[in-house]
């Protein structure tokens, strides 16, 4: 029993060392050209995935704006929230209006910019309700609007947050 425990411990150490030695290649949510998502949650998951790697902060593309949102402009903020993780709740459907609401709960660490400047978070949790509308078979983000939405990166996905 003791030998097994020792082996298990050594194996865990080995795995940990491997993980630490691995190159810092950060997976990112790849750019999409077409909105082929079937549900509002999938659209929000795509948006949050892009946001997590800093693509909302660095600038979404026009094809994304048109495919996934009703926005007239793109979000432009020089700073961003840094989150530990986020959770996307199930959509609340309003079938009569062809609309849906999806709430995202972020566990915040702070507010930062890509120079590495950080202000600690005032509140640990941030909730954002995305309202989506179906347009020619595709769910698109209606609100929050581009001017008011704030980028949220994940500390594990965007190394420039420096937390």
């Amino acid at each position: 029993m003791s030998v097994r425990r020792h082996l298990s411990y050594i194996f865990s150490l080995f795995l940990f060392s491997l993980a630490m030695a691995a190159p810092t290649a950060l997976e990112h949510e790849p750019l999409r050209f077409r909105n082929s998502f079937q549900t509002p949650e999938e659209v929000v998951r795509y948006y949050c995935g892009r946001d997590a790697s800093g693509f909302v902060w660095s600038g979404l593309l026009e094809v994304e704006r048109k495919a996934f949102t009703f926005w007239k402009e793109l979000p432009e903020q020089d700073s961003f929230y840094v989150a530990q993780k986020y959770e996307i709740a199930s959509a609340r459907m309003d079938t009569a209006q062809n609309e849906a609401s999806v709430e995202v709960t972020y566990e915040l660490l702070g507010v930062a910019d890509a120079h590495g400047t950080v202000v600690p978070a005032q509140e640990q949790e941030r909730r954002v309700v995305f309202r989506l509308k179906k347009d020619r078979g595709a769910w698109k983000i209606l609100s929050p609007e581009a001017a008011s939405i704030a980028p949220v990166v994940l500390a594990s996905k965007f190394q420039f947050a420096n937390l």
Binding site: F33, S58, V63, G116, V119
Partner: protein, 482 residues
């Protein structure tokens, strides 16, 4: 008697009087104003260090919260086009001298009101206002001109790159797109692993994401290439079908523009890229230092503001343009940085409660020497040409506005910020207080920092404007090349 007095004598008299008032009272100008019975108590400001909900606690500025003085600066007069040099002081004042000058100016304008509306001193005050207004317009116009120059440079670069793809066969285009995807992916990995010298960390972050987007776009384009062709086969094959046209539309905005240029550039062979690099306006070779001690040189196409902040020869229109636009603030001076600059300029110290990025304090200290910090919360007013920063520290949304005029009675500033494409300024009214206009005490809204760029060469920028053509010439001479 007063009306017949020559203006030069009256100016001297006014200055002497104002200094005498200050020295005899032994207080600051603001404190002197607080004792003035004619000052209404309707516009009490709030000190920035008394409301921790909205602003950072700052070191003691030695000032107190006092009622605001209406009409200390005005907003009348038409826009002039004077050169910034015309608004220059004789010599750059030090911090304390600047404060005295500011107080004298306030006293001067206050005292001049006593001489009657038709007197020459009112003309003098108007001249002062016109000068400030001209400087404000000069700054915003120059910033706009700079943005337009860069847009022209971008279009020129895109045209040069498009030409490389004219009459290219479908198979050759496919091969180029594959090459671009591979090259861009390789470069983004280098940026993930290493540190690019001579550019800021934020520039690197932005470039890394731009490279990833460009690689993804190259991958998407390969799949779209097999869609039915419905374009003119003799034109650029990038526009051979509807979806490709949508993906590579030249109507797409700036972010797409740099991505498309990167994609087109990296689709070419190495020798073609090397030759082309000399012809592009917005391209640099940058060196990436890798963790294993090696370094790699990579060509980067950018938007014209690569590592603009802190450069010793940065011209003021570029500085203002990069500061006004959120697009360019990301990698240069963010709204948080500008709040830091305000604090450094005012108190010599950075705001508390912030962990500043590595090496950031040094840059901010240098840039802060180019500004006079105006404290709206103790009754100082914005003037034309000021940069009005609005940022609640623990919220990432912020903006920077250039002041065109200010109405102290209504507490409303007429401000401007660049349009999304950066080619024009959008003017609008920005109330400095969110309290109702008829309220007795109107507080200044939280999160404001007013910065006045010095009217002569300073720590932030220089009043010279090297044209893109000159830069291009320098580049062709190999100054910016490997």
């Amino acid at each position: 008697m007063k009306a017949q007095m020559p203006i030069r004598i009256r100016v001297t008299l006014t200055i002497v009087l104002s200094i005498a008032i200050q020295s005899s009272l032994g207080h600051s100008a603001q404190q002197a104003f607080a004792a003035e019975p004619s000052i209404p108590s309707a516009t009490t400001g709030e000190t920035s260090n008394k409301d921790p909900c909205d602003n950072f606690p700052l070191p003691d500025t030695g000032t107190i919260s006092v009622p605001q003085v209406p009409d200390a600066t005005g907003t009348t007069g038409s826009a002039g086009q004077n050169a910034p040099a015309e608004a220059k002081p004789a010599e750059q004042p030090k911090r304390s001298e600047k404060s005295i000058l500011s107080k004298i100016r306030n006293d001067l304008s206050r005292l001049s009101r006593g001489f009657g509306a038709s007197s020459n001193s009112v003309s003098l005050q108007n001249a002062l206002m016109l000068s400030q207004l001209a400087r404000g317009n000069e700054l915003s116009d120059s910033a706009l001109k700079k943005s337009q120059q860069l847009k022209n440079a971008e279009e020129s670069d895109r045209k040069i790159l498009d030409q490389q793809y004219n009459d290219v066969s479908k198979s050759e285009l496919e091969s180029r797109l594959k090459r671009a995807e591979s090259e861009l992916g390789r470069m983004s990995k280098l940026l993930d692993q290493g540190r690019v010298s001579d550019i800021s960390q934020a520039d690197q972050a932005q470039l890394r994401n731009t490279l990833l987007n460009a690689a993804d776009k190259a991958r998407i384009a390969q799949t779209l290439l097999n869609e039915p062709q419905n374009g003119n086969p003799k034109t650029n094959p990038l526009f051979s079908n509807d979806k490709m046209r949508e993906l590579f539309s030249k109507l797409n905005r700036e972010q797409d523009s740099v991505i498309d240029r990167l994609l087109l550039f990296n689709g070419l062979l190495e020798r073609e890229r090397d030759a082309l690099l000399q012809r592009l306006f917005l391209a640099e070779n940058v060196r990436v230092a890798l963790p294993n001690g090696q370094s790699k040189l990579i060509p980067l196409l950018h938007n014209g503001y690569l590592n603009a902040t802190g450069k010793s020869d940065l011209d003021c229109p570029t500085f203002v343009a990069a500061t006004l636009s959120p697009k360019f603030r990301k990698a240069n001076l963010t709204t948080m940085d500008l709040r830091g600059i305000w604090s450094l300029s005012r108190t010599g110290e950075l705001p508390e409660g912030v962990k500043w990025g590595k090496g950031r304090e040094e840059i901010l200290r240098k840039v802060s020497r180019g500004f006079e910090a105006i404290d709206l919360y103790i009754g100082e007013f914005p003037e034309p040409g000021d940069l009005l920063v609005h940022r609640i520290p623990w919220q990432p949304n912020g903006r920077v506005l250039i002041v065109k005029s200010y109405d102290p009675k209504r507490m409303v500033a007429q401000v401007a910020e660049p349009s999304a494409d950066g080619t024009r300024l959008i003017e609008f009214s920005f109330p400095l207080s969110l309290d109702p206009a008829d309220k007795d005490f109107r507080k200044i809204r939280p999160g404001l920092a007013n910065l006045r760029l010095l009217a002569e060469d300073n720590g932030a920028c220089r009043y010279k404007d090297p044209s893109p053509q000159k830069n291009a010439l320098n580049k062709r001479n190999g100054e910016n090349k490997r």
